[in-house]
């Protein structure tokens, strides 16, 4: 913004006149006294105006901060940062980028919500969305939109690191959401909701068109493209609490994520079969499946695999205790690994 000093042209003239008076050297007489009075009057006026302008400016800054704070609640953090920090005009503009896209929704929520009172439904939905949104933020996803109980998130824009980072971040986010849902189900049951809620998730990676869509009067920062449709269809195809990821997403995360063998799906809108992978859980730092207990001793004829994502340790101990064998046959050291 160019400097605008000419709104102070009068004040500049007063200062110049005062300086000229001093240069004259004659500081006595009525003329000097009149000039001094005029200078003092102008100075008082300037001080008064400065105080007012400062107060007005401070008030406007506070108002701006309030508006920005409220605006920030209606758009994702990344988009808010883009709007407030980016220079240049906001216009309809898009670009192609490889993104990882995520969709989730609550299975059979339409049926469940039809049996809830309006206030209970709002409270329930908002608490669910609040918790899930915190997980989205934790993993750096860009929250695109809520559609009732459905959530759409994408990774890779506006901030980008690598395709691998974004694919893995998205899958880790989904796994954490699934873990969180277990706790939520217990909580909701305790609050009187007799039908346990489950959700489904779909993830796909690929080139999307991302940017401002709409008109010059009203635009939406969002994404379109095949991966968006694919993630949505994978989510629909998933069973309760399952995460389906596309083959491309799997290619980025296969060393860090344990999946079932792929399945071929016929999805609406796709003419060819789609290869999809069901996420089981994350591998630990050594690359092993952290939820699997494996015990293999060929010599002793032992081959045990326990998937703790499906069975609790209490159930396992209960099963073992029912085995009709003398205690000395049970390997104590191995059973202690289960505790």
């Amino acid at each position: 913004m160019q400097k605008d000093n000419s709104i102070f042209s009068k004040e500049d003239e007063v200062i110049k006149a005062a300086e000229a008076l001093l240069k004259q050297g004659e500081l006595n007489g009525e003329n000097f006294l009149e000039k001094y009075k005029s200078l003092l009057k102008s100075y008082k006026k300037l001080l008064r105006q400065t105080k007012t302008v400062t107060r007005v400016s401070d008030n406007q800054q506070r108002k701006l901060n309030r508006i920005l704070e409220r605006l920030g609640r209606y758009v994702s953090f990344q988009l808010f940062k883009k709007i407030t920090h980016e220079k240049g005009k906001v216009e309809i503009r898009t670009q192609r980028k490889k993104l990882t896209v995520f969709f989730s929704d609550l299975k059979d929520f339409s049926y469940t919500s039809s049996h809830m009172e309006g206030e209970a439904l709002s409270e329930f939905l908002n608490s669910y969305l609040e918790i899930m949104t915190q997980i989205v933020i934790k993993w750096g996803g860009t929250l695109d939109k809520y559609m009732g109980d459905a959530i759409m998130v994408f990774f890779g824009d506006p901030e980008f690191t690598s395709d691998e980072d974004h694919a893995l971040g998205c899958v880790k986010m989904a796994v954490e959401m699934r873990e969180k849902m277990k706790g939520l189900r217990s909580k909701w049951y305790g609050l009187g909701y007799q039908d346990p809620l489950h959700f489904r998730m779909g993830i796909a990676t690929g080139y999307c068109t991302v940017g401002n869509f709409g008109s010059s009067e009203r635009m939406d920062y969002t994404i379109i493209g095949t991966p968006v449709n694919l993630a949505s269809r994978l989510e629909t195809a998933a069973d309760a609490d399952e995460v389906f990821i596309s083959h491309e997403t799997w290619s980025y995360v296969k060393d860090k994520v344990v999946c079932e063998p792929p399945v071929k799906l016929h999805l609406k809108g796709f003419h060819h079969q789609i290869l999809a992978h069901k996420v089981l859980n994350l591998r630990d730092e050594s690359g092993k499946d952290s939820r699997l207990f494996l015990l293999e001793d060929e010599e002793k004829g032992v081959n045990i695999k326990i998937d703790f994502s499906k069975v609790s340790k209490e159930d396992v101990l209960s099963i073992i205790s029912e085995i009709d064998l003398p205690p000395e046959v049970l390997p104590e050291t191995k059973s202690s690994q289960l505790t």
């Binding site: 913004m1 160019q2 605008d4 000419s6 709104i7 102070f8 042209s9 009068k10 006026k45 008064r48 105006q49 007012t52 302008v53 107060r55 007005v56 400016s57 008030n59 406007q60 108002k63």
Partner: protein
Amino acid sequence: MDNLIIEATKYTPEISFDCNKNLLKIKGKSYPENTSVFYKPVFDWLRKYLGQDEKKDVTVNIDLIYFNSSSSKILMDFCDILDEAASDGKPISVNWIYEEDDEDAFEFGEEFQEDLEFVTFNLVRKAVE
């Protein structure tokens, strides 16, 4: 003399100075790219208008929903000119018009009111449009 009519733009207010009705209106938003350039014809007209030897009641309506800092300086200079004319005997009323739910605009009006001695300054609340 002729009336002064300047249409509003995205960044500048509507100026509607009617010397026959003695009604001066400033309405809209004020954050021009160059404040002094925009308001120069406004001040030129005002000085010429107030320089006429008439004692008719003058009403000034200021209805700004937003103005930047340099515009606030201009508004103070504008009100100073009005106050000086009022001190010479011209009956001048200034109506600071603000929307009823806009506390900031009300406070701005109070700031300007404090600086004026001879002008009749009114804070006028209007319903939200």
